[in-house]
């Protein structure tokens, strides 16, 4: 079985005003199905650029990117949008929930852009919210939820189309340590129980420790790639649900 993510000699150059920024300078990397990877590095090291490329939000300047065996580096905007819709779920540092929509509508948003009709969207959305312990909060607006709850809504949204990969950009960056740990618990369970591949960018060693593999970036290049020993890996294996609905931060 080929690797889920297969990146070869990826370069990304962009212009920042008149300065040419070489964000990625030849990254080669494979990520297997079902793995949980943390990407670490200083600001400007290229880790976010890589995550954007892996998420098909952007196209590389050169190099190859095979996602699930499909070459995506030359796809157009709409083809990439479809890949994002079906194969990838995003979790952002600042949650990026739509403020005028309630939790359930936020979770169901990706269904709107799925080509085919989905029956029982609300049921699917409610199941998704239940899985992250938010039963009863369906009709609350994001502003009425705590940070931890908002991030859990965002996770439910990322998972609604049953993607293969969950990409998370500093998912705990805006949360306190308690809520951060809860989010990580959810990630681990998704990874272990459902086999979802997770790639997560983080600054924090503590958070990175939840992952099974830690890749370090510097100046647009991979400078370290360590797999955690089995024993250390997944030091916490908690039960995902039911989380207390009121758990908040």
């Amino acid at each position: 079985m080929p690797a889920l993510i297969d990146v070869r000699d990826l370069h990304k150059t962009y212009l920042l005003g008149e300065i040419v920024v070489n964000a990625l300078q030849g990254v080669t990397l494979t990520i297997d199905r079902g793995s949980f990877v943390a990407i670490m590095g200083e600001s400007g090291s290229g880790k976010s650029t890589l995550l954007n490329l892996l998420g098909c939000l952007d196209r590389p300047t050169s190099g190859r990117y095979l996602l699930d065996g499909i070459s995506v580096e030359a796809m157009n905007r709409d083809q990439l949008a479809e890949i994002r819709n079906r194969k990838i779920g995003f979790v952002f540092q600042n949650f990026n929930l739509l403020p005028r929509m309630d939790a359930l509508e936020n979770v169901e948003l990706p269904l709107l852009y799925k080509g085919s009709e989905t029956l029982d969207e609300d049921e699917l959305g409610q199941l998704g919210l239940a899985a992250v312990g938010l039963t009863g909060q369906e009709h609350n607006l994001p502003a009425q939820l705590s940070g931890g709850q908002q991030q859990r809504v965002a996770i439910a949204r990322a998972l609604i189309n049953k993607p293969e990969i969950l990409l998370a950009d500093e998912p705990t960056g805006a949360l306190d340590s308690h809520n951060g740990a809860e989010i990580m618990t959810i990630f681990q369970t998704l990874n272990k129980a459902q086999g979802i591949t997770i790639v997560m960018v983080t600054h924090s060693d503590e958070i990175a420790a939840y992952a099974g593999r830690i890749i370090r970036f510097r100046d647009g290049l991979i400078v370290g790639d360590a797999r955690a020993p089995r024993a250390v890996r997944g030091m916490v294996v908690p039960v995902l649900s039911p989380l207390p609905a009121g758990a908040s931060g």
């Binding site: 939000l57 905007r77 479809e82 995003f90 990026n96 739509l98 005028r100 948003l109 852009y113 799925k114």
Partner: protein, 411 residues
């Protein structure tokens, strides 16, 4: 379909969030559509009035008047010669295949007296055909018949204005009035016709048999006792007017013994031409008004574009997020277009209501005829939708082609 419904829902929600802003944006379209509706209503009302006036004069009418006359090298104006005769009228009716009727008439003015009242009015000497051609009908009493003309009976048919001024509400039928000291018996009163398009009172008239009028009131012209002032003809149909005119011209030239080089000693006019010109000018006026009004529609459209651009900017992050979860170019484009069209259509519908109300108010207050057809309303709806698409497209396109990464990072 699902996406369209969702787009409409999102659009309404976005518009509700900024109620005042949406209302002010719509106001531009409301004013534009309302002014287009009102000006079109006034314009087509005016056209309708002119058409009514044409109908009130009679249809397919051709008028023959004597030509100009030269006297010792002084050319007098048209109508001064005494070249037309009652015999001409009879022959025109008999020989021209496209002419239905031809009625000779003489005109004069006189002081009319009844009891202590007197009134100066136009006195027309006519034949019964004149009433047919002018589509005059008698409201009370009877009209006169050919026999009254033949025997020069001293009877009169009065218009409403002399009746109002002479009889003070008394029944005029059977009364004796004096015109130039000659007693006439009133046999009928004409139905009211109202003003002509030139503002003339068409009811200020007294009709006499042409024979009586010539002998007792207006006087016989010395040169030719058979002479008349005007011959009024009716063509068999509107399409036959030009043919009837040519036939009449040829016949009159022949009867008047004109050589090929001679100018006509008469002139032939038809009223359709006159009114066509009037109608055309009122249409041009209406179109100009509508054009000015549609400028305000364009201004309203610019308002929509402005607000949509602001909306796109404010919602950059939302657009980025939608793109990240799989919204394609078309999805974002549709969403913002629907929002712009919702604004402009809602404005358009409100504008129709305001426009209809305004034209009703105008016809009440100013007394102008207004008329609103379904065409004008459909046009207004169509134009407001076009404005929505036209001015919404650029902002929507801008939204659809945002870079997802930059949009997600936007503060």
């Amino acid at each position: 379909m699902k996406q369209l419904i969702s787009s409409i829902r999102i659009a309404f929600r976005a518009l509700r969030m900024n109620k005042l802003r949406s209302a002010l944006t719509m106001l531009g379209i409301v004013i534009g559509v309302a002014s287009v509706i009102a000006t079109v209503a006034i314009g087509s009302g005016a056209t309708q009035r002119i058409q009514q006036q044409i109908a009130s004069i009679g249809s397919n009418i051709i008028i023959v008047i004597p030509g100009s006359m030269s006297s010792s090298g002084v050319r007098l104006g048209t109508g001064n010669a005494v070249t037309l005769s009652e015999a001409d009228a009879r022959e025109l009716a008999a020989q021209c295949p496209d002419v239905a009727l031809a009625a000779p008439m003489v005109r004069g003015g006189a002081q009319v007296v009844f009891g202590n009242n007197n009134w100066a009015t136009g006195v027309y000497g006519v034949t019964p055909d004149y009433l047919t051609i002018r589509e005059l009908s008698v409201a009370v009493g009877s009209e006169f018949i050919q026999q009254d003309v033949d025997s020069a009976n001293k009877i009169a048919v009065l218009g409403q204005t002399p009746v109002d001024n002479l009889f003070d509400g008394a029944d005029p039928i059977g009364q004796s009035i004096r015109i130039k000291n000659v007693p006439f018996t009133v046999v009928g009163v004409l139905a009211r016709k109202g003003q002509s398009s030139q503002g003339q009172d068409q009811d200020d008239v007294i009709l006499l048999p042409i024979s009586t009028a010539k002998r007792k009131v207006i006087g016989v012209k010395q040169a030719n006792a058979d002479a008349v002032d005007t011959i009024m003809m009716q063509a068999k149909s509107g399409a036959q007017i030009p043919a009837a005119q040519e036939e009449a011209s040829a016949l009159l030239r022949q009867r008047h013994h004109l050589q090929a080089a001679d100018d006509n000693d008469f002139s032939i006019r038809n009223l359709e031409e006159l009114f066509a010109a009037q109608e055309a000018s009122s249409k041009i006026m209406a179109m100009m008004l509508a054009a000015v009004a549609s400028v305000s529609l364009v201004v309203g459209g610019i308002g929509i574009m402005n607000i949509m651009l602001i909306s796109v900017q404010e919602r950059t992050r939302e657009i980025g997020l939608r793109q990240a979860v799989g919204a394609k170019t078309r999805d974002i484009l549709t969403q913002f277009l629907v929002e712009a069209i919702t604004l402009s259509l809602a404005g358009g519908l409100a504008g129709i209501l305001v426009g209809v109300g305004a034209s009703l108010l105008i016809s009440k207050l100013a007394g102008w005829t207004t008329s609103i057809g379904p065409g004008a309303v459909l046009l207004a709806v169509f134009f407001s939708a076009v404005v929505g698409v036209g001015f919404g497209y650029y902002p929507a396109r801008k939204a659809a082609f945002l870079d997802p990464i930059e949009a997600l990072r936007y503060d």
